[in-house]
Each structure stands twice: as C-alpha cells, then as structure tokens.
C-alpha cells in the first residue's frame, strides 16, 4: 500500500514541479522571440558625453503630441557624416542617412491602435515609471516580441493602466483611452 502511495504522490509532485518550472521558465522562451534594434544606439554617448537632454530627441510638438522615436530629420543635424569611431554610427550614416531610409526602431511600449495614449497627459510622471531607463544604457535592451499577439512584452496591459488611474484618482471611464 505504501508503495502505491509513492507511485501516486511522487509522480504528481514531479509533474507539478516540472510544469511550474516549464511554465515560468520555458514558456516565456517559447512565447517571445528576441530582437535587437536595427542600430545599436548608444544613449550614454549622447546623454553623458554630449550632454543631451531627453527632450532633444523625445519632445512634445506644438500641438501637444509626442514625437516618440526620432527620425532621420532629427539625427542628420549631427550625423549627416560620420562623427565618431563607433562602427554602428558609420552603419547608420551609410545605410540609413545616405540612403534616405528611416530606421525601423523597435518600440518597447507601443499600444494597439484602439488605445489613445497621450504622453502630455502623463508628463508629470517620470519616463522611467513606464519605460526602461535607457539613458544609462550603451546598448538598447533586447526587444521581446510576443509570437502570438505580435506586441512587445513590455506593452502595458489595460489592468496596469486601470490600476494606476485608480490609485491616482484619474478616471477609468472607457472613453478616456478608447475614443
């Protein structure tokens, strides 16, 4: 009878543990593909060495909309020609600026089209409340793309928006985000 108990309990526990391990460790590896930015953009060089502010590239337009990721038009002011010795900068200049081709930057937090997100309404928050602190990174973080949904792993879910709105007293009415 004791033998029978171990025949039941032990396999159950093994299955339970293996499933939990696979679910938390293996499943994300299967679910997300890993991508790197088309150009290894070095924020440290720009922020620390060139003393640039975040707003120099990620600014609000006059109409209050947010520029998001900069285009070549922002970059050519300095990078019309190669400035330094970083081979990635040289690649950017030759493959994008000189070819008049925009870089398909991977956006870590892009919301679906049915969500209206206004950066200027959230300007009192620190950028790093929602975004990774890339200003201290010489290499952009890996971009994890959900193979099923197609969105970034870091895309904020609705419950996260609602939680913050609830905590700060902001409205959670549908039309606040879904116009």
């Amino acid at each position: 009878m004791a033998k029978c108990k171990s025949c039941v309990v032990l396999p159950f526990l093994i299955g339970l543990v293996a499933s939990i391990v696979l679910g938390w460790w293996g499943f994300p590896k299967v679910l997300y593909s890993q991508k790197t930015q088309p150009i290894r953009f070095d924020h440290v060089v720009h922020v620390e060495d060139q003393a640039m502010a975040c707003e120099d590239c990620h600014a609000f337009r006059e109409d209050g909309s947010f520029t998001g990721l900069p285009t070549n038009a922002n970059c050519v002011g300095c990078h019309e020609d190669v400035q330094g010795e970083d081979p990635e900068e040289a690649r950017y200049v030759t493959e994008y600026v000189q070819q008049e081709k925009e870089v398909d930057w991977l956006a870590y937090q892009t919301q679906p089209d049915n969500v209206y997100f206004s950066h200027i309404a959230h300007k009192e928050l620190e950028c790093t409340s929602c975004h990774p602190d890339v200003a201290k990174m010489k290499t952009p973080p890996v971009y994890y793309e959900n193979r099923l949904s197609g969105y970034s792993k870091d895309t904020m879910k609705m419950w996260q928006c609602e939680e913050c709105h609830a905590k700060t007293g902001a409205s959670n009415a549908c039309f606040v985000c879904h116009k």
Binding site: C4, S6, C7, V8, V9, L10, P11, F12, L13, I14, G15, L16, V17, A18, S19, I20, L22, G23, W24, F27, P28, L31, R61, D63, S65, T67, G68, T71, P112, D113, N146, L148, S149, G150, Y151
Partner: protein
C-alpha cells in the same frame, strides 16, 4: 520504481495542476484573443508629426488649392484650403476622395507596352527610347489630347507636337472653348470668368454651380455668403438637383433650351425702358431678339411661362449687380452661340468686365515657344477631329499622345472617338490610372499622381480673378512612376526636339516669372492673384445673328438631361473607392443605374419604378432602371454621367452604363466647335 499507468496519470495530473499556477493557460488565452484581432487587412495607424501640405485638386473640371493632411509625411486626408481663392476652405467630393486615389487599385505602377491583348512591363529607359523613336518616325503626323486646361504639362506636350511640325493639339471638351468663342462674338478677347461673390442677383441658366460646375468649392462659399447679404440665386434647368434645392427659386426649363430663355429675357429687357441706341450692335441685336425670341415663342420652346420670363427680366433689370451664368447641365457640350446668348444678356445688363459680373481675364502666358497660344488651343475641336478620323475624312495620326484625359470614355460620338483612337498608328497614354484610353494604348508611361509631383494651374474656367497656383509634391512616388512633364522634356531631347527647358520645374518657374509671381511662395501655399483685367471693346453680338437650333419635339422621344455628379467621378476620374458608399440606394440597383423621370412621363411610356429600360439615341444606347422623381419636367429623362466604365477597377467597372454613348455632336459652322449638351432619346422596356 517503475512507471505504471497510475504513476503516469499522477504525473500528468501534477503537470496539469502545476500549469494552473503558471501563466501558460492564462497568458495563452489572453494572447490568442489578441491574435484573433490581428487580421492582415486591418489597417494600421501610422504615427508621426501631423502637417497640412498645400496641394492642387484637378480631378474634376476645376483646379483649386486644397490642404493634404499628412502624418509622418504620409497623406491621410484632404480638406479645403481657406487661403486659396478657389477653395476658401471648401472641397469638392473628388477632392475629399483624392488622397485615397494614391493607392487606387487602378494605378498603373510602371511603364507598360502592349503585348497582344495585354501589357508587359518595361523600364523607363526603354519606354522613353521607344517614344523618342516613334516621334522621329511620325514627323508631323503626331497629335495630342490633354484634359488639363490649366497646367503647364499641356504646354510642354503641345510644344512637343508643335516642334514636330503638327498643329494637332487638342483639349478635351469643356466650357472654356465655347465661352471664349462666345466672348469673341461680342468682340471680346480673353478668358471668361464670373465674379459671383460680388453679384447681387445670380441667374444660373443650366449651370449646376453648387454641384459640379465651375469652381464648385468657391461657388458654394459665395452662395453661403449670399444668404446673409440677401443675394438671390435662381436656377433654371430641367430637374431639381443639389443646386436648385437650395436656390431661392427653381425655374423648370427644357434641357438644352436655357440659352433660348436667355435670349427671351434679352428680348423683354430690350423692349422696355432704357435708350441703348448708341450701344454698338444694339439696334440689330434688339431687333433680332424681339422678332425671333418673343416671350410666347420662348415659352413654347423652354416650357417657362411668359409671366415667369417677364418676371425674371424685371428682377434682372431692377437688381443692382445681376450676373447670368450659362452652362450645360453636365458642364460640357454647350455651343458657342448658346454661350453667347447668356453673354449678350450680361452685356445688355452692363455686367461684362465689371465688379460682380462677367470678368475677362488675361490669357495664360506662353512660355514654351513651340506651343500654340491658349486662345488658339481652345479653337481646335477634338470631337470634330476624332469624328473625322473615324469617318475616314482625316488621316489618323501616326502617333497620338494622351495626357490627363480619357477620350475613350468621356466623349460624344463615343463609338467614333474610340474608332479614331484605334486607327492611330501608335497611342501613348500618360495616365496614372488604367482608364479606358490607357487600356487602348500601345504604351503607358504613367504620370505621377497629383500629390507625387510638381503641378500648376492658371485661372481655371470660371475664376473671377486671374490666379496661378503651384503645388509641390506631398509624397515621393508610391510606385515606379515619373512626372509627365519631365518625361516629355526628356523624350523631346532624345528625339532632337528640344523645347528649351531641361526640367518641368524650369517651365513652371518661367511661367511664374512671366506673371510676376513668386515661385517659392506659391510652393509654400500662397497662390498668385492678378489684379489686371484687359480692356475690351465689346458690341452686342459682332457676328451674324441667327436662331439657335433646338431639337424638335416629336411626341415619341424624350429630352435627355445628362447630369454630372462629382462623387461618381468626372471626365478624368472614375468612381473613387472612397465614394462608393455615397452612391445611394435610389441611384443604383445592383449594377444598374437609375434614370429619372416624372410619373406622367413614365405613365406615357408604360414603365414604372425599377423597370429595366433602354435609352436609344442616334449616337447609341444605354441601359438603366427607372426611378420616378416628380422634380423632373414632363417628357424629360435625367441620366447620370460617370457610370459605365469598362476599365479602371472593381469600384467602378461594370457599374451602370455610359451616358456619353447617347450624345451626338453637331458642328457649329461659324466656330467649328461641337455642341452636344443634350439629345432626344426614346425609352423602351429592356
């Protein structure tokens, strides 16, 4: 310990239980729900800086400034340009749909050469070399057709034909040509315009001014402003339409007889009161109209009662600044004599070349030396030329080049126009779209779409003030297309027929300089406005006076009133995909279009609502369904232009029938121009 059945089940049960404490199930369900919304055909928003870029809309007969809204440099919508004098913030249905035509499935995406019954793709170099070779071979046997009255590309193309030694340069039918000829009949010289904003009474004789005629957006704005100023708008035409619906009054008038009404009004006005004996040509004119166009006779022809004729005449005389606009209901096909009837009425009212009246604008400056003057270009009658080729009376051109025009669809005597194009030795189309003419062409060298190239427009017909607009490209070419102006200049050079310009931009700059306009400012959205109106030495009808031909009523046939509706396209453009939803249930039944007639007419014909009918005229036949509409005069059938395409795309092909097939042109002996505004048709059950 071995794995038996019980152990295996326990292992699986443990695995399942464990999975409930992981994100596998919950996350997968969530992601799958998102995945189900990721259909490839769902459009994705493109985010970026929003801007409004000045552009030109030339999809209809008008040419006016609009603003194209862009996001991250990509056009997404169009709206009126409040700073443009021909828009004033308004936009026409074609302008509203213009951005979407960039991606129309009917776009020709690269040069194509006819290969049997289909086309094969060729490179631009091959296409240019081929055309240059054909130009050399054709010599003076070259001809051109343009549907762009206002742009300098027409000057360049006409210049090439002229340089080759040919005078076969033609514009598509419109109202500029009969208007210019009409002006010449009263001794004037210039481009005809209408100062509708400053008129205090506007009589629209057939002119669908608020729907499809002239500077539609500008007309609408002027009408809107008139409501506060107490300006009266009166529309005379065969059926209620968008214009008559909002005008102060509608005067039902048999189609094609609006000019007779004009002379009837002239007869009443000249018979009363004022001494005009000293006016040049007045005595003969007054005598003629009073004898040939007495109110009773005019009433019989037009269907307008004598009292209404006299009432309108009184209103015109008593109002301070009346303006009479004479036009065909469909915006084309009016004869010069008919146009001159309205012009003479304006002259009788002292409303020519004055504020709030008919304005005479200077002709567009000539910058391409070998091109004909605009005035001369308007005297060349395309309908007569193509008909003559089809009849074998004129030799077909060895090389025919077609720009911004679709003569294989939008011409009277349509079968003959198509036959003439078929007879041409080699046909080149510069159309950005696979229209009916491009489908017949031997070579297609697709022009860039309006927002992909530099373009210009000098004072489109109807402008009350000289104006010149230049618009740069809003976006780079979406497909492998090139601006026709540059292609023609390049081909001309290859053929040894240099026109004096290396690029089309040089041509536009030369025109701007000739006008004293600032090219750079215009590209930024500031159109040039002229202040000078050439002095005129006018007389009441300088050419021999004669009665206008009016189609006789025979008791069996109906008067055809073709109407243009910009929402379903124009002579240049088929139904824009964006506008298909604007076609109402009472305008199409399945793939059949409706024609309109009133209940009494339908009863006489023995047809009822939704009956399939055949409209037959001397020129051809059309199929349609019957819609009963009491806003149509007796013995009249209203038929929409813009349907019945055989090329283009699924949004327009095979929908309805082409009413141009019913229109037969007749030549005016004195001017050589063709008139085809209306026709007599018989209607029978199909």
């Amino acid at each position: 310990m071995g794995i038996d059945r019980r152990s295996f089940i326990s292992l699986v049960a443990g695995g399942v239980a464990g999975s409930l404490f992981t994100p596998v199930i919950w996350k997968s369900l969530d992601d799958v729900s998102i995945w189900t919304q990721n259909w490839p055909w769902i459009p994705r928003l493109q985010y970026g800086e929003e801007a409004k870029v000045p552009a030109l809309c030339k999809l209809g007969a008008d040419a006016y400034g609009i603003k194209v809204k862009t996001v991250a440099g990509r056009p997404v919508a169009a709206e009126g340009d409040a700073d443009h004098p021909l828009s004033l913030g308004g936009i026409c249905p074609l302008g509203a749909a213009s951005v979407h035509m960039l991606y129309s499935p009917s776009r020709v995406k690269n040069p194509k050469l006819k290969d049997g019954s289909s086309f094969k793709d060729i490179s631009w170099e091959e296409a240019e070399d081929l055309l240059a070779g054909k130009l050399k071979e054709a010599g003076a046997g070259v001809a051109m057709i343009s549907g762009d009255e206002t742009g300098s590309v027409t000057d360049v193309l006409a210049g090439l034909v002229g340089k080759a030694g040919s005078d076969k340069t033609f514009l598509m039918p419109g109202e500029s040509a009969p208007a210019a000829a009409a002006l010449a009949m009263i001794g004037g010289d210039g481009q005809v315009g209408y100062d509708i904003e400053n008129a205090s009474y506007v009589l629209l004789l057939g002119a669908d001014a608020l729907g499809s005629w002239g500077n539609v957006a500008r007309n609408g704005k002027a009408f809107g402003a008139s409501r506060e100023k107490g300006v009266k708008f009166v529309y005379a035409g065969p059926a209620q339409n968008g214009t008559s619906a909002v005008c102060d009054s509608w005067v039902p008038c048999v189609p094609g007889t609006e000019a007779v009404l004009a002379l009837g009004l002239a007869a009443v006005i000249s018979a009363g009161g004022r001494d005009r004996a000293s006016w040049p040509g007045y005595a003969d004119f007054a005598k003629f109209v009073q004898s040939a166009y007495a109110p009773e006779k005019v009433s019989e022809i037009t269907g307008v009662s004598v009292d209404v004729i006299k009432g309108l005449a009184q209103e015109l005389v008593r109002t301070g600044r009346p303006l009479v606009l004479t036009a065909a209901g469909a915006g084309q096909g009016l004869g010069a004599f008919e146009m001159a009837a309205g012009m003479s009425l304006n002259l009788l009212l002292e409303r020519v070349n004055t504020v709030g009246g008919v304005r005479i604008l200077p002709w567009s400056p000539k910058v391409v030396e070998s091109a004909p003057e605009k005035k001369a270009l308007l005297t060349a009658d395309l309908v007569g030329y193509l008909t003559s080729i089809a009849d074998g009376a004129t030799e077909a051109p060895a090389l025919l080049m077609v720009h911004a025009a679709n003569p294989a669809y939008a011409m009277p005597n349509l079968a003959k126009a198509q036959a003439a194009i078929d007879k041409a030795g080699f046909v080149v189309s510069f159309s950005p779209f696979m229209d009916e003419t491009a489908a017949m062409a031997d070579l297609i060298m697709p022009d860039c779409y309006a927002f992909e190239r530099l373009d210009d427009a000098y004072s489109p017909y109807g402008s009350g003030q000289p104006n010149y607009t230049v618009a740069g490209a809003v976006i780079k070419p979406v497909y492998d297309t090139k601006p026709a102006g540059d292609v023609i200049l390049s081909v001309a050079a290859k053929a040894g027929l240099e026109l004096g310009f290396e690029t089309f931009e040089d041509v536009v700059k030369a025109k701007a300089e000739a006008l004293g306009a600032d090219f750079d400012a215009m590209v930024e959205g500031a159109p040039w406005l002229g202040e000078e109106f050439p002095a005129q030495d006018l007389a009441l009808w300088a050419t021999p006076l004669k009665e206008m031909p009016v189609a006789a009523k025979d008791g069996k046939s109906l008067a055809l009133a073709p109407v243009a509706q910009l929402k379903v396209g124009s002579a240049k453009i088929a139904i824009p995909p964006f506008n298909t939803n604007a076609i109402r249930f009472d305008e199409m039944l399945g793939k059949d279009m409706y024609v309109l007639m009133n209940g009494a007419t339908a009863k006489n014909l023995g047809v009822k609502k939704d009956d399939a009918v055949k409209l037959s005229a001397a020129a051809g036949e059309c199929k349609a369904r019957v819609r009963i509409f009491e806003g149509v005069m007796n013995d009249t059938v209203v038929a929409p232009l813009g349907f019945g395409h055989t090329a283009w795309d699924d949004f327009s092909r095979g929908k309805g029938d082409n009413v141009y097939k019913l229109l037969a042109a007749e030549a005016e002996g004195e001017t050589g121009l063709s008139r085809f505004a209306t026709a007599r048709v018989t209607v029978s059950k199909a």
